[in-house]
């Protein structure tokens, strides 16, 4: 059974305290937000895709536990530069492996929150208004659990 020393290893806490690309991404072309209804954690993923379907830049924002935020940071760092196809093919078990410490099923949901939002963000283009300005107000998410 995992214990807290394993889960909160240094690598994880480093990402929690010093996350990669946590914040807003002006000009994002794709974004989505999702929740973990068990604990109320929220993660938002913002992507800028190039015309040739590559993730040029990726950011996240969120509120949650160490697991959900550190895993989001690791994920964002990993997928930046991937093609959209590669990111879509990045599977849940690869996310759990990227995170590292073994997690109980309930904590796996925390770890996979950012991954789930990233996957749906790839399918959620940001609405462009007539001036072509990227908006930060994506429509209602279809994959939110409640």
């Amino acid at each position: 059974m995992p214990n807290e020393q394993d889960i909160y290893e240094e690598h994880v806490l480093d990402h929690y305290e010093d996350p990669y690309h946590r914040g807003d991404l002006p000009g994002a072309t794709h974004e989505d937000e999702g929740k973990n209804p068990l604990c109320g954690d929220v993660v938002q993923v913002l992507l800028r895709l190039s015309p040739d379907e590559r993730i040029e830049e990726a950011w996240f924002e969120g509120e949650g536990c160490v697991i959900s935020l550190a895993s989001a940071s690791m994920l964002i760092e990993r997928i930046e530069g991937m093609t959209v196809e590669e990111a879509k093919a990045f599977a849940a078990d690869e996310m759990l492996e990227l995170f590292g410490p073994k997690l109980t099923p309930n904590r796996q949901k925390c770890c996979l929150l950012g991954w789930r939002v990233m996957q749906s963000a790839l399918h959620s283009p940001v609405h462009q208004d007539e001036d072509g300005m990227g908006g930060q107000f994506g429509g209602p998410s279809l994959n939110e659990e409640s």
Partner: protein, 423 residues
């Protein structure tokens, strides 16, 4: 304080070690309690010696099961101080009991524009059934907010009753998060004066305080077996007989009928009218044993024991920097204490405590509207019961202090090379 050595010996699960090798400090009793051996034995004895379906057969086992099941109803009646066993409906739990009231009484009595008044401290089990009813028939759900002091005053209740003139006022006898209690008899009287029917969600007081539905004078009172040292899968709906008599059945099928023809059916009398299908037989028998067990310990002593533990926790937690305790002052706190810590998510506190063998709950505890109202997405909650000790409270405090240090910002830097996890 109770003699916890003696009491703990009654609960076999408390002697097990946790995955981390620590002895178990079970402080998640507001979610579900543990069971003493006598309850486990009562359930086993039912299955081993006399189980059969109730009210169905004329063979020996069915007679014995029926007698034990109905004796459990009588024990429950006595525990609640209801006037007759027709007022005691066995359900699957508190949630099922409230759904029964909403679907049966609510459907029959509430119309477009009618108001169901609740407090903001309600469990989702006493919110969602009314939301669903409102979607269907156009009635409206209104909430009494917390006052500036974090409590709901009699004046606030009176004002809301006057403002909304609700058909139903539903409230928790004690919050599963705040550790606050409601003056049930007083609020019931205020509601009756305003013409409202009253439903009391007693899930969080039934385990800890003697219940007297006659003194409360509430119209409906509900609680769950699994929080009172009884089995899961059973709960109780108490209703005044005149109300239950006039209500249509909610779940329908076998067991709840007087007569069925190809044209229709006539429902059975109380209480069977509300107990369609095979009821939770062994669970009812286990529940009765649990109620007897609690009465033998003495609910007044149980309540005082938990309050003493909660005050100890309250005092020590308040000294931790950045820690915010929800709910009332220590003196009026029941055996529940929920808190947040600046910069640390409740899940991480609970996870850290789990590694110390201390089981607490983290999350919104099925009270999202309350958490919205107090501005917290999640809280950590310790909830005490008759078998908890001062030493367990101290382990909780030590663990929280450790967590506050572990997760405090300490100038960590992520490695920039972005390696894949290499373990």
């Amino acid at each position: 304080m109770l003699d916890t050595n003696r009491i703990r010996a009654d609960f076999p699960i408390l002697s097990r070690k946790t995955a981390s090798g620590h002895s178990l400090a079970f402080l998640d009793n507001a979610a579900s309690s543990q069971r003493p051996q006598c309850v486990i034995d009562a359930v086993s004895a039912c299955y081993e010696k006399y189980y059969a379906n109730v009210h169905r057969g004329i063979h020996m086992l069915s007679e014995e099961s029926t007698a034990a099941y109905e004796a459990a109803r009588e024990t429950t009646r006595g525990f609640m101080n209801a006037s007759c066993t027709q007022e005691i409906i066995f359900t699957a739990g508190t949630t099922a009991a409230i759904n029964t009231v909403a679907q049966s009484w609510g459907n029959a009595h509430l119309q477009q524009g009618d108001v169901v008044l609740l407090t903001i401290a309600e469990h989702h089990a006493n919110i969602v059934p009314w939301h669903q009813l409102a979607e269907r028939n156009g009635c409206r759900v209104e909430f009494i907010p917390l006052g500036a002091d974090g409590n709901i005053s009699d004046a606030a209740v009176e004002a809301a009753l006057a403002q909304y003139r609700p058909k139903l006022f539903g409230f928790v006898s004690a919050s599963n998060v705040l550790g606050s209690s409601s003056p049930v008899a007083r609020w019931t009287e205020l509601a009756h004066d305003a013409g409202a029917t009253v439903l009391v969600d007693a899930a969080q007081t039934a385990p800890h305080q003697a219940m007297d539905v006659a003194a409360w004078n509430a119209d409906f009172v509900v609680f769950s077996g699994h929080k009172v040292c009884g089995p899961s899968g059973i709960g109780v709906l108490y209703g005044k007989r005149s109300l239950l008599d006039a209500m249509p059945p909610f779940l329908v099928g076998g067991g709840m009928i007087d007569r069925v023809t190809t044209k229709g059916f006539t429902p059975a009398e109380l209480p069977e009218k509300f107990e369609a299908g095979t009821p939770p037989i062994a669970q009812a028998i286990g529940l009765a044993e649990a109620l007897r067990y609690l009465q033998s310990v003495g609910l007044d002593k149980v309540d005082e024991h938990e309050r003493t533990l909660a005050r100890r926790a309250d005092k020590a937690l308040r000294e931790i920097d950045g820690l915010r305790i929800l709910g009332p002052e220590a003196e009026s706190r029941s055996g529940i204490i929920s808190f947040t810590m600046k910069g640390i998510h409740a899940h991480d506190i609970a996870q850290w405590l789990d590694g110390r063998g201390v089981a607490v709950r983290a999350g919104h505890h099925c009270t999202m509207p309350l958490h919205d109202a107090v501005g917290a997405s999640a809280t950590a909650r310790a909830s005490f019961y008759l078998y908890n000790t001062e030493e367990e409270v101290d382990r909780l405090i030590e663990g929280v202090i450790e967590a506050s240090k572990k997760f405090a910002p300490s100038g960590r830097r992520r490695r920039r090379s972005a390696p894949a996890a290499s373990n």
